[in-house]
């Protein structure tokens, strides 16, 4: 089971494309994910010491912020981080029980909590920190790509999207088949220079991030043909003869 499915060309690869150019770091994707999944496929997502010091819980999606570059020319970037549903993820192959698996049909990486022994090796194996230990149940959990939404026939078709995607107020999150070069998400990745995180580790993440766009070029140059008002006797005079009508 924890052997990876063979990658065939045109393989369906469901995943997310996250636009760092529009993400404002509002945390909606994080809390909506928590809310959906608390009672979802992998729920509950427990919280320890919820009303005391040391509160912490299981979250499938966490939003960081970074500063890149220095001073005014730099940029602040909000950066949501969840499972990237890698194509060759060691989190799956290291799993001794078969609890971790990558689905052949759509590439989603899931954990079966009924099999998981909580050895946590998959968490060590994930470079991206996408695995979340439910310390209470003693099993590993993670982003399910909302598997109980995206195929859910009781939900209207337009809503069969991951919770985080539907809720994102800046529409910075896109969901689709990255294995299909014609899909909307593949087009976005192509046009916007979408990239994978830490490709050097060889996990071949499916999710892509769209980079912040380059600051719009300097724009119009200041007009210097007009003398400064200090240099002319009465700058108002130029409007005296202006004929205006309503």
């Amino acid at each position: 089971m924890t052997c990876l499915p063979d990658i065939v060309p045109g393989q369906k690869k469901l995943g997310l494309v996250i636009d760092l150019d529009t993400c404002v770091g509002c945390q909606a994707c994080a809390t909506n994910c928590k809310e959906w999944n608390a009672s979802g496929h992998s729920g509950p997502l427990p919280d320890l010491h919820p009303y005391s010091a040391g509160a912490e819980g299981v979250w499938f999606n966490r939003v960081h912020s970074f500063e890149a570059g220095e001073g005014e020319r730099g940029r602040t970037v909000h950066f949501p981080r969840s499972c990237l549903h890698c194509e060759t993820p060691a989190c799956v192959t290291v799993c001794p029980t078969g609890a971790s698996y990558k689905r052949a049909e759509d590439g989603i990486v899931l954990v079966d909590h009924d099999l998981c022994i909580g050895c946590q090796l998959c968490a060590w194996a994930c470079p991206y920190g996408a695995r979340e230990l439910d310390e209470d149940e003693g099993v590993m959990k993670k982003c399910t790509l909302c598997i109980d939404r995206i195929y859910n026939e009781t939900i209207p078709e337009a809503q069969r999207q991951p919770a985080c995607v539907l809720t994102c107020p800046t529409r910075a999150r896109h969901f689709g088949d990255l294995g299909d070069p014609e899909s909307e998400v593949s087009r976005l990745v192509r046009e916007r220079g979408g990239y994978a995180l830490m490709p050097e580790l060889g996990y071949a993440p499916v999710n892509r991030y769209l980079p912040p766009r380059r600051p719009a070029d300097a724009g119009a140059a200041p007009r210097e043909d007009t003398p400064t008002p200090m240099d002319v006797t009465n700058p108002l005079l130029r409007w005296v003869d202006r004929v205006l009508s309503r």
Binding site: E35, G57, E67, D112, R171, F175, T228, L236
Partner: protein, 978 residues
């Protein structure tokens, strides 16, 4: 023009083959109800899924015009607010000293008896002795009406500390405002300038809008000392020095004028630029508009000389001096305006250093704006008709949009700064044109709108007629006595703050404590955490609330408070009226209040109960209506003295403010066919519920723009009761009401300010926008207190009320003081160091985080993350209390010591025109704390004692609405929600 639909996203593919480990199609819940979110004031539409009587999932309503299906970080965490252990459970009566937290649970009957007794006593003797103030609520049309019925002038909501500068400057200038009263034309703007916005009320609409701008490749410039949130995704970040935006805006104005890049046609048609202003130095009419015999403003026509300014065929002369028929001299507004801003004071070079923006950059931005506005206009092939009855074949707009909020308004120069931004918009011709900023319904309104504030002549047992919060047009409308002293406890609408349109909640407790202008008997508050984050200085508020008179009675003898949660203010009240959560009650987001309309049309909405309360709590509105009936307030009882309304839903449907005008505008009339005006419809709430709990009107495309001068729009607005007449709303560059106050201060007219305020009124009531350094800087050593200190709204928290939410508090349980890396390094301060932050009002201790994206002379922190130990159902050692801090501890509600001219006179730390609390004028000094001082923030007030009946804190929470709840968990289950 229809609102953009929710983009439909293609389904990736059909369901895959069977996977025995996955249940692909579990039903989301067993019931779903629509209502309106109230995790903040944005009022998004939500769909609440229930399963076995518990909340399974809250999602955005895709059909809702406000949020079109999206939810923010708070709204998505509603489950945890609804089930928070910090919820109050029953009415409480104080039994120990104030602040001790010793309460007894009482019945609602007893609570209402007590409240009625206290209130009746006041109403029968001197109703002014009730101060009824509400915080972040959305029921001001009810609460304000109730206060007027009670007969006290002392009513207001949070607007005074919030953004009255934006509201006042906008409504007195363009008949609308930034804030939540206007919005950029997200679909057409090509250049968007945002000033001082971290989140704003229009939380999701702004985010959706920014996404649309980005999709279309528009340029987004954010002017803000801090580069986070929205500013983080701006194409250009202008890290301005706090309090100097006015200078920056006026330098842009200078540049546009200097280069003659202004829209003279727009100015001539839609603004008072051509109106004539009387020049009569030191005369009683100086600076007033020249008016004809009918009182209408005059203009100077190129062919005909001085004529009625509203003529359709006016060909105005904009500069020069003209003699009026009566011989007085006058100049056009444009002339006076251009003269001022072409002055050397406003040249980019003159302001660059102060603003922290190089002159070159200011000039470049001015050129960019002009280029977009004039060389790349938006042209919509949409005919429309103007107020003069002339048909225009197309709508031509200047696609430069502005938006601004508290970064402008929370300064004591915010009113004028905001007016300067509106002036900039007018010069560009960018008010309600395609691509520019647009009015949201019900705006535009006449300038200034409506009648003056009610509040004069309060008498026992007598309602006050009119609106307590309204619009003075001049000295006669102020709420002052013969000597010029304030009539209201907060001194709103007095010479200290003539345009305090929203009241001055931040001064109420301070003034009541000092008996200035008079003592009060009952302080009645609703949804306002006044002993903590909405106090300008919590220490002072707590001191006053616990202070006693010589006779042993509290200085403020009775405090009644309605909260839904155990906030820091609860222990300081005598009687607690516990409210429901937002999912347990009816509410009404009314056109009479701050509705959810948009540029596309009017709208309003309701909340319906999704779950019944599981505690002994009642919706505050029900309670207020019952109190009104018990007190016999005329509008709340029938002729026979019995209650007029059963409850709030009954009031929502049947109350009429004026004939045919009630809280809700949709489905009026007996058969539900009328909008805006019409008899009550007994079926109205059902119609709302069927429609997803909202009603939305859609303007036809010919009414979409130029609303201030769009004949069809104005006619429709009048029919809906949104405006009193169909007249053009002429945008006001020169503000005559301000000049009237100034003239009074110069010794003209029957009502003049007291001596000690004359210079102040004369200076700040300038009819044209001008810039002055924030008031609080004047009275102190700004070299010693070298840094500006400001706060920002964190997106996932709503003021103080997110910390009881088990999910939201994990995101932000503590806050730091952010500081420019270079500045920190110069002061020898590293990341994580503990520092002292000192101001003239006190000092606090906190931990530092260095960053790049902040103006080097500015420090900042997230607002209201610090909590008092013991509050909000949190253990006293929670990070909120140990590593969180509240900047308010070093803010003062009063300006530095006043001039000797009026000893003992305190002036609020506020804008001198509007009374807006000047939170962001704060100056501080930051020094490293000694190593042994590290570890906890200061000041640390003693922990609060939890109220009786507070549930035990679970050690683990395994929220799961479904039947397999808590599967496999090894520790104790959560206790919430059962």
């Amino acid at each position: 023009m229809p609102e953009a639909p929710t983009p439909s996203r293609p389904m990736p593919a059909a369901a895959p083959g069977a996977d025995p480990r996955v249940d692909y199609s579990p039903p989301v819940g067993d019931t779903v109800k629509t209502t309106t979110c109230y995790m903040c004031a944005c009022r998004c539409g939500i769909r609440v899924h229930l399963k076995d009587g518990r909340i399974r999932y809250i999602e955005g309503n895709p059909d809702h015009p406000v949020n079109r299906g999206v939810l923010c970080g708070k709204g998505s965490a509603g489950i945890m607010t609804h089930y928070a252990p910090a919820r109050l459970r029953a009415p409480l009566l104080r039994v120990g000293e104030r602040g001790s937290g010793e309460f007894r649970e009482i019945s609602w009957d007893e609570a209402l008896d007590i409240a009625t007794g206290w209130l009746r006593n006041v109403r029968e003797t001197d109703p002014r002795r009730l101060a009824f103030f509400t915080g972040r609520d959305q029921s001001q049309s009810l609460t304000g009406f109730w206060a007027a019925q009670f007969g006290t002038p002392n009513f207001a909501a949070h607007g005074g500390f919030c953004s009255v500068n934006m509201a006042a400057a906008g409504q007195y200038t363009i008949g609308g405002a930034f804030w939540e009263f206007g919005e950029p034309d997200w679909d057409h703007a090509r250049y968007f300038l945002m000033f001082g916005v971290a989140e704003d009320h229009d939380s999701n609409p702004i985010k959706l809008g920014l996404a649309r701008l980005k999709e279309r490749g528009a340029k987004f410039v954010s002017v803000n000392p801090v580069r986070t949130g929205y500013s983080a995704i701006a194409d250009e970040w202008v890290g301005i020095r706090p309090g100097t935006d006015g200078l920056f805006a006026m330098a842009l104005i200078h540049e546009l004028l200097r280069n003659d890049r202004v829209d003279l046609d727009f100015l001539a048609r839609y603004t008072n630029a051509p109106w004539l202003v009387v020049r009569n130095p030191r005369g009683p009419d100086d600076g007033l508009f020249a008016r004809g015999g009918d009182g209408r403003p005059l203009a100077w026509d190129r062919a005909r000389g001085v004529v009625d300014a509203s003529l359709a065929d006016l060909s105005p002369v904009l500069v020069g001096e003209v003699a009026l028929p009566d011989g007085r001299k006058a100049k056009p507004v444009f002339h006076l305006m251009a003269e001022r801003y072409l002055g050397a004071d406003y040249a980019p070079e003159a302001v660059a250093e102060r603003c922290g923006i190089p002159a070159e950059r200011i000039r470049r931005i001015a050129a960019e704006i002009a280029e977009v506005a004039f060389d790349r206009p938006v042209v919509l092939e949409q005919p429309w008709t103007d107020v003069w009855g002339r048909r225009h074949e197309r709508m031509v707009g200047r696609p430069v949009a502005f938006h601004a909020m508290r970064g402008i308004s929370a300064h004591s120069n915010g009113f004028h700064t905001c007016r300067a931004l509106h002036l900039l918009q007018m010069l560009l011709g960018a008010v309600d044109t395609p691509g520019s900023w647009r009015y949201k319904s019900p705006f535009p309104r006449p300038i200034p709108p409506g009648p003056p504030p009610a509040g004069k002549g309060a008498k026992p047992n007598t309602p006050l007629a009119g609106n307590l919060l309204a619009f003075p047009q001049g000295p006669d409308d102020l709420l002052v006595d013969e000597a010029g002293n304030p009539l209201r406890i907060d001194k709103a609408f007095s010479w200290e703050a003539p345009l305090a349109l929203h009241g001055m909640m931040h001064t109420v407790i301070g003034n009541a404590g000092a008996g200035d202008p008079y003592p009060i008997e009952v302080l009645f508050m609703f949804m306002a955490n006044m002993a903590w984050n909405s106090a300008m200085n919590p220490g002072e508020v707590i001191r006053i609330l616990t202070e006693k008179r010589e006779d042993g009675e509290y200085r403020i003898p009775r405090v009644i408070y309605s909260d839904a949660f155990f906030s820091e203010t609860v222990p300081y009240a005598d009687l607690i009226l516990p409210d429901t959560t937002y999912l347990e009650r009816w509410d009404c987001i009314s056109l009479l209040d701050r509705p959810i309309g948009s540029a596309h049309g009017a709208g309003d909405s309701i909340r319906q109960p999704v779950l019944p309360p599981d505690r002994d709590v009642r919706p505050f509105q029900d309670v207020l209506i019952e109190l009104g009936a018990r007190l016999g307030l005329p509008a709340f009882v029938k002729e026979d003295g019995s209650p007029r309304f059963r409850d709030y839903p009954d009031y929502i449907v049947n109350h009429q403010r004026a004939p045919g005008v009630g809280p809700l505008a949709g489905w009026r009339g007996a058969d539900g066919t009328k909008k805006g005006v019409g008899e009550p419809n007994p079926d109205q709430l059902r119609r709302y519920i069927e429609n997803g709990c909202f009603w939305r009107d859609h303007l036809p495309p010919e009414q979409a723009y130029f609303k201030h001068a769009n004949r069809d729009y104005l006619a429709g607005a009048k029919a809906m009761g949104l405006v009193p007449n169909e007249n053009q709303i002429v945008l006001q560059i020169w503000s005559e009401p301000l000049q009237k106050f100034r003239l009074a201060a110069q010794g003209h007219g029957p009502r003049q300010p007291p001596m000690h305020l004359r210079a102040r009124v004369a200076r700040y009531c300038d009819p044209l926008p001008f810039w002055y350094a924030p008031l609080e800087h004047a009275g102190q050593d700004t070299e010693h207190f070298a840094l500006s200190a400001i706060t920002q709204r964190p997106m996932p928290m709503y003021h103080s009320w997110g910390s009881m939410n088990a999910w939201l508090r994990q995101i932000m349980a503590a806050n730091r003081l952010y500081m420019a890396r270079a500045r920190g390094e110069a002061l020898g301060i590293k990341d994580d160091d503990w520092v002292w932050v000192e101001s003239r009002a006190g000092r606090l201790k906190c931990q530092v985080k260095l960053m790049e994206g902040v103006n080097p002379d500015t420090v900042w922190t997230w607002n209201a993350i610090g909590k008092r130990a013991g509050a909000w159902g949190l253990s006293p050692d929670s990070p909120e209390a140990v590593r969180g801090f509240l900047l308010n501890h070093v803010i003062s509600e009063w300006l530095p010591a006043q001039a000797a001219s009026a000893p003992g006179h305190r002036l609020a730390n506020a804008d001198p025109v509007t009374g807006q609390a000047a939170w962001y004028d704060l100056r501080v000094r930051v020094t490293r704390a000694a190593p042994e001082e590290a570890g906890a923030t200061e000041p640390r007030l003693p922990p609060l004692r939890e109220p009786p009946g507070a549930p035990p804190r679970p050690e683990i929470l395994r929220y799961d609405a479904s039947a397999r709840r808590g599967r496999g968990g090894r520790r104790s289950r959560e206790t919430i929600g059962d």
